[in-house]
């Protein structure tokens, strides 16, 4: 079959066009111009070139050594300066050009220290409405070395739930320290210095055992050798709210 002359010519033109396009795309245009790696490296460079605004906690102590030493010993040792004073890279470049603000009113500290039931137990919290209203926090607490005016004396300051349960139980009159031995440091570093807990059946047995002489007569007595087999007492009974009532 013979193709018409004009179709052949058209085929040649199309063939040249396709050839030129392929040549341009795969030979003339370098791989680097279409390679994503190059674009990505350039994009990463642009990202790196963005300005830093938080100077970082290690910079401040070069000039403010006194504050840094004070803060390093206190409860706020984990706080970066810029947590409260805001981004301060400009201040590190030229101290007179920009002075980082210091929050001095009552609005700022409650951002962390207002009571909130979702906050972890033991984190110092206050009720901003009831806690010395109208007085700025810094009039009693030094933000660089905050100390509670009094360390919590009672366990209930933090363990209110246990305190409430125990208050209505038969163990209401037993103090926390009868069973738990809390190191003094537990009040300031609750997670690092944990109070002790009873470990043996014999501990409960000092009151509830047959020979329990310490306890009042109404404390229920069991025979430790037969009661409960090898289970520990608190595997069945909750010591802060034992089920037996007098």
């Amino acid at each position: 079959m013979k193709m018409p002359e004009q179709v052949n010519r058209l085929a040649i033109v199309i063939g040249i066009l396709v050839g030129v396009t392929l040549l341009t795309r795969f030979v003339l245009i370098p791989r680097s111009l279409v390679s994503t790696e190059l674009h990505w490296t350039e994009a990463a460079k642009r990202e790196v070139a963005k300005p830093v605004k938080f100077a970082g906690s290690t910079v401040c102590q070069d000039c403010h050594e006194d504050v840094a030493i004070k803060k390093a010993k206190g409860f706020h040792k984990t706080l970066a300066c810029e947590s409260c004073h805001g981004p301060a890279i400009k201040h590190t470049e030229d101290p007179s050009a920009m002075k980082p603000p210091a929050p001095r009113d009552r609005k700022f500290c409650p951002v962390c220290h207002a009571y909130d039931s979702s906050r972890p137990t033991g984190f110092p919290q206050i009720n901003p409405t009831a806690h010395n209203p109208l007085k700025p926090c810094i009039s009693c607490h030094n933000a660089h070395d905050p100390v509670p005016p009094k360390a919590p004396r009672e366990c209930s300051a933090c363990h209110a739930q246990i305190e409430r349960a125990k208050a209505v139980s038969s163990h209401a009159l037993i103090g926390c320290t009868t069973c738990h031995n809390a190191p003094a440091r537990h009040k300031t570093a609750p997670r690092q210095a944990l109070p002790s807990k009873p470990e043996t059946r014999e501990f409960c047995g000092t009151c509830h055992g047959a020979a329990g002489k310490k306890a009042p007569k109404e404390a229920p007595k069991v025979d430790l050798s037969t009661h409960g087999g090898r289970s520990l007492c608190w595997e069945c009974h909750y010591p802060h709210l034992p089920e037996g009532r007098v």
């Binding site: 830093v52 962390c112 909130d116």
Partner: protein, 264 residues
């Protein structure tokens, strides 16, 4: 006759254009050799004697200790300041969620970075447990957002940060849809996708990301998974770790300690 003349004219214009392209090629090849260096550093060693930053030596991740988070929202505030995130309360690169699990089993999730800082009056007796969960881009090792980008504008850097090239992004929002963690938003000014970069401009200089820097309780830990001595490696050695939505096989690099099963 006329057509042939037009064609020849076209060809005369086309071949010099080829020359221009070749010149561009040389230009780009020159750029490529520069591109092989670490971003932001010169090939030569820095004057302070430190080795130049090589992204391939690092693989960054973040640790979040739920029990330490006090929900103060300093991280979200610092992130906005550091990264020029719009001030309106619905654009976040990082944010904090409050989970409240009621006795009935209902789970209430509230983004406290948007709303009132303090909890709404709620019957405390109905709450079983409640806690804060800081959220951010998980910088997945297998990121769905990167897979769906039609123009290769978002990518993982050699050191493990998933970032967006705002100059290449066409703002199609496909990645925003694809992210199972809701970590992306469309920047209202540039109209391009924006997200947490692990503060890429800070970490290559040896600084901490802004959110980690300001966290008062050190609930956030940042570090290099390739270094055995990094804070993150230590964090992962000492804690039981979980990630968000592991069933999606995104392999997140934000590791949560004490993560509740209800957290999504």
């Amino acid at each position: 006759m006329n057509e042939r003349r037009e064609f020849l004219k076209g060809a005369i214009i086309f071949f010099p254009a080829g020359g221009v392209l070749t010149a561009l090629a040389r230009e780009a090849a020159g750029k490529e050799t520069v591109g092989k260096d670490a971003p932001g550093t010169d090939a030569k060693a820095q004057p302070n004697g430190k080795k130049a930053y090589n992204p391939a030596d690092h693989w960054y991740g973040m640790g979040v200790e739920i029990d330490k988070c006090i929900g103060c929202n300093r991280c979200a505030v610092a992130c906005k300041a550091e990264n020029d995130v719009p001030d309106q309360p619905f654009f976040f690169r990082t944010w904090v969620e409050r989970y409240t699990i009621a006795r009935s089993g209902n789970v209430n999730v509230e983004n406290i970075s948007i709303g009132p800082q303090l909890e709404k009056a709620q019957d405390a007796r109905e709450i079983l447990r409640s806690f804060f969960v800081p959220k951010l881009c998980n910088h997945c090792a297998n990121p769905p957002c990167v897979q769906v980008c039609p123009v290769n504008a978002t990518f993982t850097t050699p050191d493990g940060a998933v970032i967006v090239d705002a100059e290449r992004c066409i703002g199609c929002r496909y990645c925003i849809q694809a992210c199972p963690y809701g970590a992306r938003y469309l920047h209202p000014k540039t109209r391009t996708a924006d997200k947490c970069t692990f503060c890429y401009h800070r970490i290559v200089k040896g600084l901490q990301p802004a959110c980690v820097e300001v966290c008062p309780t050190q609930a956030r830990i940042f570090g290099d998974l390739k270094s055995r001595a990094s804070r993150l490696t230590r964090f992962m050695r000492f804690n039981k770790i979980h990630v968000l939505k592991p069933q999606l096989n995104t392999e997140p690099k934000v590791y949560y300690a004490q993560l509740d099963g209800e957290v999504r």
